[in-house]
Amino acid sequence: MDISFTPQQQAYRAQVRSWLAANLPQTWMEGGLWPAMSEGEEQAFFIDWERRLYAAGYSGIAWPKAYGGQGRDAIDDLIVNEELGAASAPESINTIGRELVAPIILSVGTEAQKRHFVPRILRMEDTWCQGFSEPNAGSDLASIKTRAERRDGRWILRGQKIWTSYAHFASHCILLARTNIDVSPYKGMSLFIVRMDTPGIEVRPIRHINGLCHFNQVFFTDVEVDEDSLIGPLGRGWNVAVEVLGFERATTRLYRQARFSEELRALAHHALRTETINDALRAEIGSIAAELSIMRCHNMRFISRMSSGAHIGEEASFLKLLWSSLHQKIARLAVELLGPELDAISPIAERFRRVYFTSRGETVYAGSSQIQRNILSERVLGLPRGERRSGR
């Protein structure tokens, strides 16, 4: 058991840190833009930032060089993510591309798909959204109704998606659609690459409780895509999505652990500065700080297991459960600690208003906490499934 980083790894960490210190824009302070910008300007800022990260070699750390990545190992990926988080650098607005699409394509895509799409994600030429949830298929994702039918060498897509984050500016969508209605619900689904400018796609933004346009309804009316738009084996879209998703979802939390620690430290320092601290708040901050350290231990364990080729499965569920509830604790603490100042026009108020309202969604999206608990209790602890429909 070795918890130390090699001199090379420490040097790499120092290199990332000094690059960030020199290159993080002045307008980015306390984990947000100050003065605040419009949503459109903010989006342009993020895209520009991610292109600069890529140009500096801090993007796609562990992806193969052949597809535009850095070809480094998972520990270097951990290091870069921790430094980005510790500096509260912007989180990617192409997370669907980075955490879902590229890993799926790298694992089951064709060579042509890998060469085309993966570098374009890194260069921020394509941004992605994820067309999975539907009005009647949220936690029960296998109930999706969106159909893909093959006709004359083309796929015709029909249906409706909802809660689709980033669809209002994404160039592409990874779409889960039903390709076979005669088999068990989990077996007849496939994944497609769909350009968002294809005729027949309509995007209707839904304003999020954080005040921003973040997610959308997306309607597909006789949308035609090429045959090579299919990713992975026909009818196995569910399995592909689940396997890759769990694996990759856990790696973003490397960034988040460090980012959350920085948020908590910002709150602690604010309280000390303004003398609004008391022992109850001190103990609460201490308790969350301990849990954040424990979350980092999980990240180190996860990276170690991944590096030695272990199968990564249900860890993803407990990591999701852990980080989402931990972040909500930090957000609640911010409300308690800032008090009426939460409504001020100041960087810290802007920051934690957004953190608070955004964090409410974190126990819902990417598999609600209850779904994660079902997964843990059934697949790890082996408890009986009960009366839900089974289809795996």
Binding site: A86, G286, A289, A290, S293, C297, R301, I303, S377
Partner: protein, 348 residues
């Protein structure tokens, strides 16, 4: 960085699990056979010179089996004892010389006398009592017979613990040097808590699968399933907190002159103490609840686990105090914060 057990450590765990499962009269001899009592003893004194990561595996498995007893002290004090009494080293490595550390309390020097109030768990089980001495990196070894005879039994000593008052001439005490005795003992106590909590969850899950109500196993109900899932999450948190603290202590011991790794080791213990004792106790409490009536009986196994977990936790200090200590480490600009990356320290 590879924060996982090695194949050798996994093998040690498997051997220990087998030994504890067989149990019985021969357990101490079997443990000695595995080299358990010499794990932390320097090779030139006949031990294997391993670290707290291995010792924590022993305590975790003992905790699972409910036989932690004074094993933590036996492992920790074996090397200092062998150093102080070279003629007894064979007995020490054979596990024949038992040492118990108080659940709480320290000794302090007053003139030419050593005084202190110690709370001991099962004092009848030890030849020596190893109590830290306030303000110095030293542990005082008291022969068992003296202070206990002078002590007042508070609760039935065989079932629970008792308090003893120590007031003896300095010359009656063997003083040995042990660096960070409190932290090391805390790591091993928490490792035992991990094992004990793991067993409580295992019993609960088995019961949820077995017990039928409304025509199905009660574990099919989401209300109970989700409690089990949350318990699993706490258990995994305990696991990495303990293993990280053990690994950080070993890393500091490997590089004794490195200030940063010493600070990291101390911080990792604070993280562990702010989380593990309460979480372990809650797992035991939840296990009692999940078992319904049977969990409330004296004779069912959970009773002994809950009692042990409560007692071990008591000796590790109030969780709220550890949380306050965490705050100081986390928020103070000058404080080195253990397992935050360097940048987070610098940023503060």
């Amino acid at each position: 960085m590879n924060f996982q057990h090695s194949p050798e450590q996994d093998m040690l765990r498997a051997s220990l699990a087998g030994t504890f499962a067989r149990g019985g009269e021969g357990t101490v001899a079997a443990l000695a056979e595995l080299g358990v009592f010499g794990l932390l003893v320097a090779p030139d004194r006949g031990g294997s010179g391993l670290g707290l990561v291995e010792a924590a595996i022993v305590l975790q498995e003992a905790g699972k089996a409910g036989v932690g007893g004074s094993l933590a002290e036996a492992l920790l004090m074996a090397d200092p004892l062998a150093r102080a009494m070279p003629d007894r080293s064979a007995d020490i490595l054979a596990g024949k010389l038992t040492v118990i550390a108080p659940v709480s309390g320290t000794l302090r020097q007053v003139g030419s006398r050593m005084r202190g109030a110690l709370t001991l768990s099962r004092p009848e089980s030890g030849d020596w009592i190893a109590a830290p001495i306030s303000g110095v990196k030293q542990v005082g070894l008291l022969p068992f017979a003296g202070p206990v005879a002078a002590g007042r039994a508070r609760i039935d000593a065989t079932a629970d613990s008792c308090q003893v008052s120590v007031d003896v001439p300095e010359s009656d005490i063997h003083v040995v040097a042990v660096d960070a005795f409190g932290d090391r003992l805390a790591i091993l106590r928490c490792a035992e808590l991990l094992g004990a909590a793991e067993h409580c969850l295992a019993l609960s899950v088995a019961y949820l699968k077995d017990r039928q109500q409304f025509g199905q196993p009660i574990g099919a109900n989401q209300a109970l399933k989700h409690i089990a899932a949350d318990t699993y999450l706490s258990l995994e948190n305990i696991r990495v907190a303990v293993e990280y603290a053990a690994a950080a202590r070993d890393a500091a011991d490997t590089t004794p002159d490195d200030e940063a790794s010493r600070a990291a080791a101390t911080d990792a213990v604070e993280v562990m103490l702010a989380y593990v004792p309460r979480a372990a106790r809650e797992i035991a409490e939840t296990a009692i609840h999940l078992h319904g009536g049977i969990g409330l009986t004296w004779e069912y196994a959970l009773n002994a686990y809950l009692r042990r977990i409560v007692r071990l936790g008591m000796g590790l200090g109030a969780v709220s105090s550890h949380q306050l200590a965490m705050f100081e480490r986390f928020a103070e600009p000058s404080a080195a914060t253990c397992d935050m990356p360097e940048a987070q320290r610098g940023a503060a």
